[in-house]
Each structure stands twice: as structure tokens, then as C-alpha cells.
Symmetry: C2
Subunit: 271 residues, 2 copies
Amino acid sequence: MYEVATRKERLSVISSILTGNPNHIYSLSYFSELFGSAKSTLSEDIAIIRDSLKKHGKGELEVIMGAGGGVKYIPIISKEERKELADELIKKMNDPSRILPGGFIYTSDIVYNPVYVEKFAKILWSNFSKVQPDFIITAEAKGILLGAQVARLYDVPLVVARRENKVTEGSVVTINYVSGSSKRIQTMSLSKRAVSEGQKTLIIDDFIAGGGTVRAIFEMMKEFSITVYGCGCIFSTKHPERKRIENYKSLFLINEIDEDKQKINIVPNYI
Amino acid sequence: MYEVATRKERLSVISSILTGNPNHIYSLSYFSELFGSAKSTLSEDIAIIRDSLKKHGKGELEVIMGAGGGVKYIPIISKEERKELADELIKKMNDPSRILPGGFIYTSDIVYNPVYVEKFAKILWSNFSKVQPDFIITAEAKGILLGAQVARLYDVPLVVARRENKVTEGSVVTINYVSGSSKRIQTMSLSKRAVSEGQKTLIIDDFIAGGGTVRAIFEMMKEFSITVYGCGCIFSTKHPERKRIENYKSLFLINEIDEDKQKINIVPNYI
């Protein structure tokens, strides 16, 4: 279906499509068919959108040449936005009512907040943007939203390891491990059909304390002969200093949770 | 910081901001400050973007008058996109290797696919767009991504009920219930600080078979004196015909899973 579209129309629509689908490559033919416009005209549109987004710190457009080429949107979160997010989060985390018996901390409202998590995902993604994973892996449940948002930014699927062996996963590989925080033996299962040998992945989780869960995912990936590029999370604790994993990036470092004084010492780790 | 922006620039950037934040109201002052443009000029920009998006089936802009007013984006998924999604999903679901022993079906790759789930969320949202929940609730784990995407569309938080009573949830309300599919007694917990009396919510889950889990969330909401508007899910089964809940909307109806013949009979329920 060909129809004539004005430049104003094209700018509005192309910008919304590209920024709504990060890292997804759209060919000029796709837009040409959508608007009935010449590719040379569309190249001009894209240059305008690229300059506009860049000027206002809203991300970049990358043009990929050759066959299979096109244009894709690269989300960028500006210095000001990073600072603003850190200030807001630290303020939110400093609420003493978050401190739970045993020195734990309530974070569910944060790790399931779609707006925050979208920003966390962008920052983590920018730390690992050089690698090209085939999928993102997390363990249920609190890392799922972050994992999905990071997966969206890479334009790859999310794979979720389960805490229990569920019948709806089909044939699974199961491993047992000791959780760093509870010191209890835990089980983790992954459906055999979820991944393939030789793939590459990035581990995403909400919280790293001892690193037991992430270590377990790492071991699980070894069972499947899958390369792990690294690990990204929202929160990590200073103690224990020796985690059971290396090469992880956390956005916020929890130095101390003082139950008696009802104080949380947390600092941003990405500015 | 005032700077002069051209119309082309403004169209590109405003379109990306509005469509990237569904149902979030942006005041004209916000854009006026961003671009250093007069509100009358911005009103024209918004009219252009509105007409362009509408013409290409990419959703609508709604202008809200008066104090607290502004403009917001209403995502709309066109008839063609709905049809395309249904065809693709049915084809994917018809793969016999999805059928698991006991007549269960593998859906993890679908319920954790960020691109599909974003579309499911838009369709479910359009079914419930008249209600204004204070939060979206789901039970971990497979409904989390869908719940988060629906929450994003309403611009409200997601609340997740846990399957186990975890120390990191603080003080919780716990209920026991019988799951429809496994017939086993299950536990569900919700942190007391996650919700407040008198709020309104919409339940989102991935799969409704007997309706036991959704019923449990419903009962849990009663404990907190919270109104439930209804329930939305991706898949529901024809059997049992009498579910333990009413007023639910499912996107795909599974009529039959025939283990012997390795056939799945599934139809879209939203076209």
C-alpha cells in the first residue's frame, strides 16, 4: 500500500518506530514501503532525526551500510539523567522502613518499577554494549523485569532459570547450589529447549550479595557449553568482599545496613 | 536551559518522548522548557504528530485541558497488527514439540519474549482501558513481564505476590490455596507495604487453567480491602469450563492439547 506522506509525518512516525525498538535494524525499504517515499528522501529524514535526538541527549541513530543494512536506534542515557536517577534512588533507598530484621532490605517496589528498571537496563546495556549475546539469562523472580528490559535493548530473547523443577518446562537440567545469603541448598532448573550449545549470554540479576545465584547460573551455562560475557545487577553489597563471581557490574553499592541505627549506606556505582 | 529548536527537531524528539511513555501526561510547559518554544507553536507540533501517528495506525495523542493538563500518548494496536500477531503466535504454538507429558504445554519462550509481550500488553490494556487501577498485580513468575508491560501502559507500579514467604518482603499476608492444575496446596504471600487499603487493581497472569492462582490473588486483595477490576491473561484453557473466577479476558483460547496425536488446538480470542 503506497501513500504519499509529508516530511512532518515521516519524522513523527519514523522517530517513534526507531526509538521504540532499540537496536532493531530497519531497512530503508521498510520505510519506503510504509510511506511511498524515495530512499534518498528517507535518508534525509533519518539524518534529521539523528541530529535532533543527539542534540537533545535522547540517543543516537546508527546507519548500517551494505546488504542487510539500514538504521537502528541506540539508546543513550545522558549524564544529567544518570545523576537524577542516582539521587532519586538513593533518597528512596534511605527510607529506614526498608530495613528488615536480619539486616535485609526491601527492594521489590524498585526492581518491579517499570520506569526505573528501563533506566537501569539502559545503563547496564551501555556497560556491555560491545558484546553481542544471543540471549539474556536471569533466575526467577526479581531479576525478570530487568533481564527483559536488557534483552529488549539487545533485541534478543530472555531466558529464565527456575527455582523449582516445573512440569511446564519439559526436559530440564537441574543443579544444586548454596545460596550466599541464606546458606541453604537451593535448586535451579533450566529447560533444555531454552538454549543451544555454543551460544553466548549475559547474566542479569537484581541483587548480588554472596554471588551464589549468579555463580549457579554461570555453572549452568557451562553445562550447556555457553559462553558468559559477564553479569549485570542493580544492587550489590560490599560484604562479603569476595564474591563467588568475577566480571560483574552493579549500579548501586550497599556499603552497610545498620539495623540498630536504622541507616543504609548506599552509593551509586555508575557515575 | 533555553535553546531554539526547529520544527523538524521538535517533531522527532516530542514523538519519541510521548510514544516511549504511554499514558504519561506531559505539560506543554515541559516541552516549552526543553525547546524554548512558545506553547502555541508546540500545540501545532502536537497536532501534526497526532495526525501522523493516527494516519499510520501508530496510536493516538490525547490532549487534556485545564490545570494538570497536557498531552499523552495512547497506544493502539491496529487490526492488521493484531491479525499478524495472532497468525504468528498460533503457528508458533502449533509446534508439536511444545506438548509435554501430562498434556502440559511449553510457553516460557513466549511469556518472556519482550516483543510479543509488549503487544499482548497493548491488547489487554485496550480491553480494560476504561478503568484506572492504582497498581497491577501478578503472582511470580511467568506473569511478571506481562504485568510490568501492562503497568507501564497505565503508568502505575507492578506488585508481585510471591510463591514463598521470603525474608526480603518484610511483614506479609500469606494465604494458602489449591492450584487448579496441580491440585496441590500452594502458598502465596504479599508484603504489607506493597499495597494500601482502598486501592484498585487489575490482575494479570500468563495462563488460566482452573483459575486457582488468580482466585488466590483475588482473595488476597479482599484481605487488603482492594477492589479488583478484572483479570487479563495470555492463555486460557477451555477445560475446565467453570473457572474459579469471572470477568477475565484471555488473548488465546486453548481448546485441546492432544498428547496422542501431538496436536494443539488454539484460537485467538481478541480479533
